[in-house]
Each structure stands twice: as structure tokens, then as C-alpha cells.
């Protein structure tokens, strides 16, 4: 009888740690990977010219709250999670490769006289269009960094921008011209760098898909094995998800 009571009250080995892994590591990471894949579906890698980084596709450690890094390190160190460390490294390297490839393509466009001339030509047309038309943002407000914004929009396959963004009208008017005239970006001598960028995105997407599936399967396995809900349940003490702690008090 004593043994049975003991089995109920004492958590199986690792149970509290596993709970921490599920809530503090796996849940935010899985959510972030789902967001990554949604962005890939739109062709949007969220790359920014001012940081040269993908703003919403980050190394895995950045998907975890800073206060939870000890739990993240514990997760990677424990043998039950074997294999994730190498997969995460592969993902993070692929993110870095995408950022590098996007930057190379971007820098190539910034060096392309033809591209810069196309931007200038479009901007001059925009100034004429904007003259006396209140729905067009002031050309002066978009002139600075315009080539950089256009290159960023091409990298992220940006569709329409919200109306209150300064470049909204410009992009609405000239998006097709840049996308069509720059087919494969051969005219700007950036066909190769664009192909390399596309390949790097494809590799990252495949890694992220595989890693997401692995994380989801692993979470299910841990939750089933240790009888842990996949998310904390707000409830009365007698039904607390942290039953082991409560009962042992």
C-alpha cells in the first residue's frame, strides 16, 4: 500500500525537467517554426537591409526566452533529446546561409548601375504622378534608401504594403515593373546570386519542415510518457498541472 502511495506522489525521474522543456523550450520553438513555414509559403524571409538579418527567422536559441536558457542547455544536454543539438545547428547554419545569400544579392543590386538607374527612373515617374495628388506620399519622404527598400521587397517577395507606409504608393505603382523586368535578375547581372539565394531558402525550408515535425513528435512523446499536458492548464489547486509539487508540499 505504501508503495502505491509513493508511486502517486513521487514524480518519475525527470518529470519536472521535462515539463520545463515542454513549456519553456518546445512550445515557443514549435510556434516559431510554424511561423517560419508560413513565411516560406509567402516567399517572405523577413530579411531587412538595415540589419542584414531575417527578422522573424532566427537561430533556435532566439526563440527561447532569455530567462529559460538554463532549461534550453539542459534540454540539449540530456540524452533523451539526443539528435536535436545537431539538427538545431544545421538549422542555424542554414539561417546564416540565407542571410549571407540575401546580402550578397542585395549588395549586387546596389552595385548594379542598371538597377540604380531603373530605380531613379521609377522615382522620377513617381514624382510626376505624385504632383498634386494627395493620396501619394511626399516623394521626399521615400527618396532616401529607396533602392535598398526595393531590393528588400524583391528579396522578401513583398506584395502590397499597408497604406500608411511611406513606400506604399510607390510599390503599388512600380512593383510589377521591377518584378517583371528583373526576371531572374539577369539584366542586373545578379542571376547567379539570386539563384544561390533561392537555393539557400529551399534548404532552410526543408530543414525547418523536418525539425518542426521532429519537435512535434518529441513533444507528444514526452507528454505521453510523463503524463504532462502540452500547455499549462489554469485550474484549481486540486487539479494543478504541477500535481507532484502540490502533493509533496
Amino acid at each position: 500500500m505504501d508503495v502505491m502511495v509513493s508511486n502517486v506522489n513521487v514524480p518519475p525521474p525527470r518529470a519536472n525537467r521535462v515539463q520545463a522543456w515542454v513549456y519553456a523550450i518546445l512550445n515557443p520553438v514549435i510556434e516559431s517554426f510554424r511561423r517560419e513555414l508560413q513565411l516560406f509559403e509567402k516567399g517572405n524571409v523577413s530579411w531587412r537591409f538595415y540589419s542584414k538579418k531575417c527578422e522573424y527567422i532566427r537561430p533556435v536559441v532566439e526563440y527561447v526566452d532569455g530567462n529559460q536558457l538554463p532549461n534550453y542547455e539542459d534540454f540539449l544536454a540530456d540524452g533523451i533529446n539526443e539528435g536535436f543539438s545537431a539538427s538545431i545547428d544545421a538549422h542555424d547554419s542554414a539561417v546564416s546561409a540565407v542571410e549571407t545569400a540575401a546580402t550578397t544579392f542585395f549588395d549586387g543590386l546596389m552595385r548594379s548601375t542598371l538597377f540604380l538607374n531603373e530605380v531613379k527612373k521609377a522615382f522620377d515617374e513617381y514624382k510626376l504622378l505624385a504632383h498634386g495628388k494627395p493620396q501619394y506620399p511626399d516623394p521626399d519622404s521615400i527618396e532616401r534608401d529607396l533602392p535598398k527598400y526595393i531590393a528588400e521587397y524583391l528579396i522578401n517577395r513583398t506584395d502590397l504594403l499597408p497604406s500608411h507606409y511611406t513606400t506604399h504608393k510607390f510599390w503599388e505603382e512600380f512593383r510589377n515593373r521591377f518584378e517583371l523586368s528583373a526576371a531572374e535578375f539577369a539584366p542586373y547581372r545578379q542571376r547567379e546570386s539570386f539563384q544561390a539565394f533561392k537555393r539557400s531558402v529551399h534548404i532552410l525550408k526543408e530543414i525547418s519542415q523536418g525539425l518542426l515535425a521532429a519537435f512535434e513528435k518529441h513533444r507528444y512523446g514526452l507528454c505521453s510518457t510523463y503524463d504532462i499536458p502540452a500547455a499549462p492548464i489554469p485550474t484549481v489547486m486540486s487539479h494543478s498541472v504541477d500535481a507532484y509539487v502540490i502533493r509533496n508540499k
Binding site: 515557443p28 510556434e31 510554424r34 511561423r35 508560413q38 513565411l39 523577413s46 527578422e55 522573424y56 532566439e62 526563440y63 527561447v64 526566452d65 532569455g66 530567462n67 529559460q68 494627395p134 493620396q135 506620399p137 511626399d138 519622404s141 504594403l161 499597408p162 497604406s163 500608411h164 507606409y165 511611406t166 513606400t167 506604399h168
Partner: protein, 172 residues
Amino acid sequence: MRTSSEISRRHRLLILDTGPIRELVLFHAVSEFRLENLRRSLRFIKDDRSYKSCSEYVASFGQMTTTSASVVVELYHWIRETEPYGRSKLWRRVYEEFRNMGMDEEVVKLLDMDVSFVMRFGPVDGSLLELARRHAGKNPVILTTDSPLYGECKKGGLSVSHIHEITMSERW
């Protein structure tokens, strides 16, 4: 086709309170970047239609938008109350929103604000009223989600819009 009121609005200045910035940032984060856990925080911009209305309203001022540094501090207090692992994403969104809409930001000193107003409504609302006074020549309009501030502006004859008026109407 734009109305004459929209055309005249282009030459006016829009002063943004914390609430509308927060709503624009949140909706974009939810819809574009799938930060679904933030959806429940949305109070006024809950769908594409209301986002579009608000976005077009702000755009109708021709990128003449400003806010006060006190509002940025209030954004900080809001983000600090959100889940820790989403805070960096929200800050990135705030930066992008300011950058993309060409938002100006101004410091309003405590001593420049009316003490009785600060006592009643706090320094953030006080800073917005001071900006309206400072830019009186540009026919400023304050955009807010704060009903007491809205009422006070109306009472004082200042141009003010509540985000509810924008999101609930087809054309403001």
C-alpha cells in the same frame, strides 16, 4: 476618388497616442507574422477591414505623423507586460512601424505641460496636448483609443479622432 476632407487632411498633422500604435503593431504582428497569442490583446482592429480603414486614415495625412517620447515609454510598459519570449518580436515590430510610416517623435518636458492636466490625466496625455499646442499652425488631429482624453479634447475644441470612429465607419 478621395473626398475634399481627405485632401485637406493631407496638409494636417496627425498626433498618435499609444493605443492606435499598439493596435497597428499588434494586428500586423498577428496577421503577417502569426503571433497568434497576441490576438486577444486587440481591442479595436480585429480584422483586415478595420486595419485597412485605420491604415488609410493615417495615410490620408500624407505621412505627417508624430508622437511624443512619453508614448514610446508607454509602449515599453505595454510590451513589458506581454509574454517574455515575444517581447523582442514586438519591439522589432514597433521599430518597423515607426520606420515604415515615417513617424516623427518629439520630447515634451514636464515643465512645458499644464500641471492641473498632468494631475488629472497623466504626463502621456499631457505630452500629446502640448504637441497639439506646439503644432497649432498645422491643424493637428489627435488619434487615440482613450475616451477621457477624447472627451477632454472635444471639450477644449481640439481636433480628435477615436480609433473606434475610424474602424467602424466605411469612410471616415
